[in-house]
């Protein structure tokens, strides 16, 4: 139940199904509404695909040119680094396709007071926030990541086993949870501070560090990206676990507790922030 300014909102009469079925129904309703508005602009989708393919090609070109001069990067070959890149894209794509509400949160929900609307509705506000920000075009990045992953694993001569597909799906979700958790926790600063702090874009830029073997960084950065902003668990550790399971499988599985911890911290910050929210009076 939503808490407004420290008080609990009086209970309401629940209609329709309860439990998980209720949330599935709500998700379907939100997505249906989203698709209806998007299908008005079908040409958008094609140019979205094209610009996505193009952007990926540019990033891969950088790596390809780099590896024409050296055989390995900190002991990892070109296909190995492509696998890391692919994991990054998978998780980023999944996170980005439902983080639209997070990027403009301070501006839209706090300054303009739209959070009032979410709080008045009989569903958890965070659930609504994520669903309102759904952008399925970003889901193209997941598709791109998957194509690159399959191709890079083939090039890296990794043999598929039965446990890989479910584990890759799990890692993708864990990575997305890490991204969403970190940025949700940061965006909650809007509950305490007026105006932009500039921390979000800064951390956004550091995410790219997660695409490369974390061993290339100095000691402090390695600790930072493993424990404080655990972006290394999004791409490097899962990829390393696939490529060199004997050395890295434990680290790769560490992505799950890392994601859980990030989500827990973000959830805590979010509830603390909600308690402070007083609306704009509009």
């Amino acid at each position: 139940m939503a808490a407004v300014a420290g008080r609990v909102v009086p209970s309401y009469t629940q209609v329709g199904p309860r439990g998980p079925r209720r949330y599935l129904g709500l998700t379907a309703a939100y997505l249906g509404q989203y698709l209806r508005s998007r299908l008005e602009y079908r040409a958008d989708f094609l140019s979205g695909v094209l610009s996505e393919v193009f952007t990926q090609a540019i990033s891969l070109t950088f790596l390809a040119v780099l590896f024409t001069h050296v055989p390995t990067l900190a002991g990892w070959s070109r296909p190995d680094v492509y696998v890391m890149y692919a994991f990054f894209q998978l998780s980023w794509g999944l996170a980005d396709s439902c983080a639209g509400g997070i990027w403009g949160f301070g501006e839209r929900y706090i300054v303009r007071g739209e959070l009032d609307r979410l709080l008045l509705r009989p569903a958890p506000p965070l659930f609504q926030l994520l669903l309102e920000g759904v952008d399925l075009e970003s889901f193209l990045q997941v598709g791109a990541g998957l194509v690159i992953l399959v191709w890079a694993m083939h090039a890296a001569e990794v043999h598929w086993t039965w446990w890989m597909p479910p584990l890759i799906a799990l890692w993708t979700c864990a990575g997305a949870a890490i991204f969403i958790g970190v940025f949700l926790a940061l965006t909650c600063a809007a509950f305490w501070v007026d105006g932009r702090t500039g921390v979000m874009p800064l951390v956004y830029n550091t995410t790219a560090y997660g695409r490369y073997p974390v061993t290339i960084y100095g000691r402090w950065l390695r600790l930072l990206f493993s424990y404080l902003l655990p972006f290394a668990f999004v791409a490097f550790y899962p990829a390393a676990a696939l490529l060199r399971p004997t050395a890295y499988l434990a680290w790769g599985l560490g992505a799950l507790p890392a994601a859980a911890a990030t989500a827990a911290v973000a959830g805590l910050v979010w509830t603390r922030g909600l308690r402070r929210y007083q609306g704009t009076g509009s």
């Binding site: 602009y41 040409a43 958008d44 094609l46 140019s47 979205g48 610009s51 996505e52 193009f54 952007t55 540019i58 990033s59 070109t61 950088f62 040119v65 780099l66 024409t68 001069h69 050296v70 990067l73 900190a74 075009e137 105006g195 932009r196 702090t197 500039g198 874009p201 800064l202 830029n205 550091t206 790219a208 560090y209 490369y212 073997p213 290339i216 960084y217 100095g218 950065l221």
Partner: protein, 263 residues
């Protein structure tokens, strides 16, 4: 002329109004440079030189290339697209000066802010954090300043042309994003153009992108030797003129097809 100075000044003051702008630029570009510094440090591990470049030369190149980008970067393409799409451009057209020239001057105002608050402090920070080698000859600095100014003019006009062209496309945001990445790659901020295969380099020597970051950075690091620096700047000047022609052509086409409803 006074009008244009006023536009540049206004844009400068707008940038100045957001206190966040004072330090966010230096931090952002330090993060960019840092990312590439660590990648290249790993590439150079145990090698004295790669493609004829030492690690010191490479780090200096990256710092100067990114800082040149910090100086020349602007959002003219997005601004113009937005104004054309929303019809705001109709009001701009009523004003007694050429629309695109006004845009260029306001971008100039932004560039002065970026120079003073982002580029110069950023170079200082980069020189403290990373092993950057500074050139010893004063003339190198003079040529580099001229080259950076040309880089700004090429980039600003490229963005103007792109904005005038892209307003009619769907999903302009995605395409603009892809375009920014492409310009970064081809202008040499990810890696010096000398690292590309020979055939690609030949193609790139005919394109304007190298003039946006590669040429000033290469002059600064001596990758383009002082004897050839003047010719490189002349090449940039040629593209300043070339892009002006492109902008003029796109502008005429836009005025022919533009139809603003109401307003």
């Amino acid at each position: 002329m006074a009008v244009f100075w006023a536009m540049a000044r206004l844009r400068f003051l707008t940038m100045l109004a957001y206190r966040l702008n004072y330090w966010s630029g230096v931090l952002t570009y330090t993060v960019y440079i840092g990312g590439y510094y660590y990648i290249w440090r790993a590439v150079y591990a145990g090698r004295p030189s790669v493609a004829g470049m030492s690690i010191g030369g490479m780090v200096t190149y990256l710092a100067v290339a990114w800082m040149t980008r910090a100086f020349t970067y602007n959002n003219l393409d997005g601004d113009i697209e937005e104004e054309v799409r929303s019809g705001l451009v109709a009001i701009q057209l009523l004003r007694p000066y050429p629309y695109v020239v006004g845009k260029l001057w306001s971008a100039g105002g932004e560039a002065v802010f970026r120079l003073a608050f982002w580029m110069l402090p950023g170079m200082l920070v980069a020189a403290l954090l990373f092993p950057v080698h500074l050139p010893t000859h004063p003339l190198t600095y003079a040529v580099w300043v001229a080259s950076a100014a040309c880089a700004f003019l090429v980039n600003a006009q490229l963005n103007t042309a792109f904005g005038l062209f892209a307003f009619s496309l769907q999903n302009a945001r995605g395409i603009r994003w892809a375009k920014t990445r492409l310009v970064d790659l081809l202008s040499g901020v990810y890696l010096p153009l000398g690292f590309f295969p020979a055939a690609a380099q030949r193609v790139m020597s005919w394109l304007p992108f190298r003039d946006i970051a590669y040429v000033p950075a290469a002059i600064f690091t001596g990758t383009i030797p002082p004897a050839q620096a003047a010719a490189a700047v002349a090449g940039q000047l040629a593209w300043v003129g070339g892009m002006a022609v492109v902008v003029a052509v796109f502008w005429r086409r836009l005025r022919r097809v533009l139809l603003v409803q109401g307003g």
